[in-house]
């Protein structure tokens, strides 16, 4: 199994390869586009500076180092582009091709068609944003572009669903997120924007209307460990995934029905503990993913520091070794093994990190 690792600077390539990375994905936000990006998530779903290469030169350096180690590098272009945005992407494609990059990650059908018609030499990975849930969707995408090399599958799919897709599409590789993908929503089905460029703008809105910073994700902060609370408060204006228990109100079919002890409605409020689903760890499913013939696993976090990227990568590498040792076994039988491993790499604030059956990305 090959680990696909996030990248945002040329200096990161060598240390990450030494830590076990064999493939990289990254974004590019050259200065000529960055001023436009302030107002639109033009390039990809992580349009902040920390998550993207800021110049072609820097990207070229990274590409050269990656080539030295035979590691691959793909550019993420996984937004959906109306015509003015596509007009900006087309010259960017020419630029990245000129520096020798041959892999792109796309979600937009228009871009896919454009690349199929005019950039015959580019290798294509279908992004998680394209929401490929079934074999028929794969067939359609392959009809549009027969050169698709790899497809990123959504995190929520069951193993049976993954197996069905993989078995019915030989000759194509499949990939899935394994770590650090924290979104509660199905990524391709989220229409929120979390453009950090808008930080100051949203802060000014929130000052006028303080309630606007909370939205959607039912991250009930009363239940969150302090570590996460701080993290989410810090980014409250960027990520709209911010709901407090007091903001919630159940609306029942019959207004005279009041929630009783232990009924569905009261349990909903009391027992939902989404701290288990925001960490985005799916490593204990590695044996099952291997059995489902998934060849690539991806780590999220392009805007993480190098230190954090190395730590996450080392953890997943260790998990892959552990998965080989354990073989295909029910994850309940070996849950303590994964817990021990997790605690070794992270200061474990969630001793039950692998018991997240209700909320885990890969619950099946």
């Amino acid at each position: 199994m090959i680990i696909n690792c996030p990248l945002s600077a040329s200096l990161e390539v060598e240390p990450l390869i030494k830590a076990g990375a064999r493939e990289f994905y990254c974004g590019l936000l050259p200065p000529r586009l960055s001023s436009k990006t302030i107002d639109f998530e033009l390039i990809n779903r992580r349009p902040d500076y920390g998550a993207n290469f800021s110049s072609l030169d820097e990207l070229y350096k990274a590409k050269k180092i990656a080539d030295k180690y035979n590691a691959k590098l793909a550019i993420t272009l996984n937004e959906f582009y109306p015509q003015p945005q596509l007009d900006q992407i087309v010259p960017l494609l020419r630029d990245i091709r000129q520096i020798g990059i041959t892999e792109i990650i796309v979600a937009d059908i228009g871009l896919l068609k454009y690349v199929t018609d005019f950039n015959q030499d580019l290798e294509i990975t279908i992004s998680i944003m394209a929401s490929v849930f079934n074999p028929q969707a794969v067939s359609l995408l392959r009809k549009i572009c027969p050169r698709i090399k790899k497809i990123m599958l959504p995190c929520h799919l069951s193993f049976d669903a993954i197996r069905n897709i993989v078995n019915q599409n030989p000759g194509i590789e499949f990939e899935t997120f394994i770590f650090n993908e924290i979104c509660h929503y199905e990524v391709g089905l989220c229409n929120y924007t979390h453009n950090p460029y808008r930080k100051n703008y949203f802060v000014s809105i929130i000052k006028r209307s303080p309630l606007l910073d909370r939205a959607c994700q039912a991250v009930f902060q009363d239940n969150l460990p302090t570590f996460f609370q701080n993290k989410f408060f810090e980014y409250a204006h960027i990520y709209p995934c911010h709901v407090r228990r007091n903001d919630l109100c159940l609306v029942t079919k019959d207004p005279f029905i009041k929630p009783k002890k232990n009924d569905v409605l009261s349990v909903f409020l009391k027992n939902l503990k989404p701290e288990k689903m925001i960490f985005g760890c799916g490593v204990c499913f590695l044996p099952q993913l291997t059995a489902a013939d998934i060849k690539y696993v991806k780590i999220g976090g392009r805007n993480n520091s190098l230190k954090k990227k190395i730590r996450n990568l080392s953890f997943v590498v260790a998990c892959l070794k552990k998965a080989e040792q354990l073989g295909f076994r029910d994850r309940d039988d070996v849950s303590t093994e994964w817990q021990k491993l997790f605690s070794k790499f992270f200061r474990c604030h969630q001793s039950d990190c692998v018991s997240c059956k209700n909320f885990c990305c890969f619950s099946s």
Binding site: Q83, Q85, P154, S158, Y192, A215, C216, V251, V267, F268
Partner: protein
């Protein structure tokens, strides 16, 4: 202007008199296969449509291979009755199925695939980039035309919609009053139900063994958003002023399962 009523289940209709004000009925849900109508619902639905001279649009839900047989069976049943039933495509797999197995149904590009930025905070941002529709792009427009897509479905996003007249050939429908924001892989209604019954499985868009607790409650999230089943919406009742220029010729009035229609 065509007027359509969007219901998830035929049982929502407590009284049929309201249907006199509509030309079309939308049935189903984009986000859950549980609301794919079975044979008896379809029969009832077609008889209502005949009585009130409505045309039916079936909203196809996101699906995995496990549900594909049910989806196929539903489409097959419909094909035996009415091949003019519009199919609203919300998953790329739907288009493949329609092309290869049910080519006679009229096709519509659903709101899950039109990919509008729907963040309600954007109503404070009067920038054109947030108002554009991603299908209004030369290559996507060509693709839609090649695949006989007749119209696109749009949410009534708070920041307003703009379309490029040169590229935007297809007419559009506008959904009121709920604006679709996001869909979770964990259905919160089902999680809550499963917790009470000590079951652990609560994932996906699948409807296996689901008792549809979302039919009984939804969760209002202050300010103004609501969780219904596995998806989140906000409300925007204000109609855009540029309806004609953005080629909207159908208004779809959406009712959540929770709302009974009298």
């Amino acid at each position: 202007m065509e007027k359509a009523l969007y219901i998830k289940s035929i049982t929502q209709l407590k009284s049929h008199s309201i249907l006199r004000t509509f030309n079309r009925l939308y049935l189903g849900s984009e986000f859950c296969t549980h609301f794919l109508p079975d044979q008896s619902s379809l029969e009832r639905c077609f008889s209502i449509c005949d009585k009130y001279q409505l045309t039916l649009s079936l909203i196809l839900p996101l699906y995995t291979q496990e549900e594909s047989n049910f989806l196929r069976a539903t489409m097959k049943q419909i094909s035996q009755w009415r091949t003019d039933t519009e199919m609203i495509i919300n998953d790329l797999g739907h288009l493949w199925l329609l092309q290869n197995e049910f080519p006679y149904f009229p096709r519509v590009w659903g709101r899950v695939l039109t990919k509008l930025k729907a963040d309600d905070r954007l109503k404070h941002v009067s920038k054109k980039e947030y108002q554009l529709v991603s299908t209004d792009q030369q290559y996507t427009a060509d693709f839609l035309q090649e695949n006989q897509i007749r119209r696109i479905e749009l949410s009534n996003i708070a920041q307003g919609i703009q379309r490029d007249a040169a590229i935007a050939i297809l007419p559009a429908s506008l959904y009121l009053p709920y604006v679709y924001l996001a869909t979770s892989h964990s259905c919160l209604s089902r999680i809550s139900e499963n917790l009470t019954s000590n079951r652990v499985h609560a994932s996906s868009f699948t409807a296996h063994e689901c008792t549809a607790p979302c039919e009984n409650f939804h969760i209002r999230i202050f300010p103004g958003r609501l969780f219904s089943g596995n998806s989140i919406f906000y409300t925007n009742n204000r109609l855009p002023l540029n309806m004609e220029t953005i080629k909207i010729n159908r208004i779809v009035t959406e009712k959540l399962v929770f709302e009974e229609i009298t």
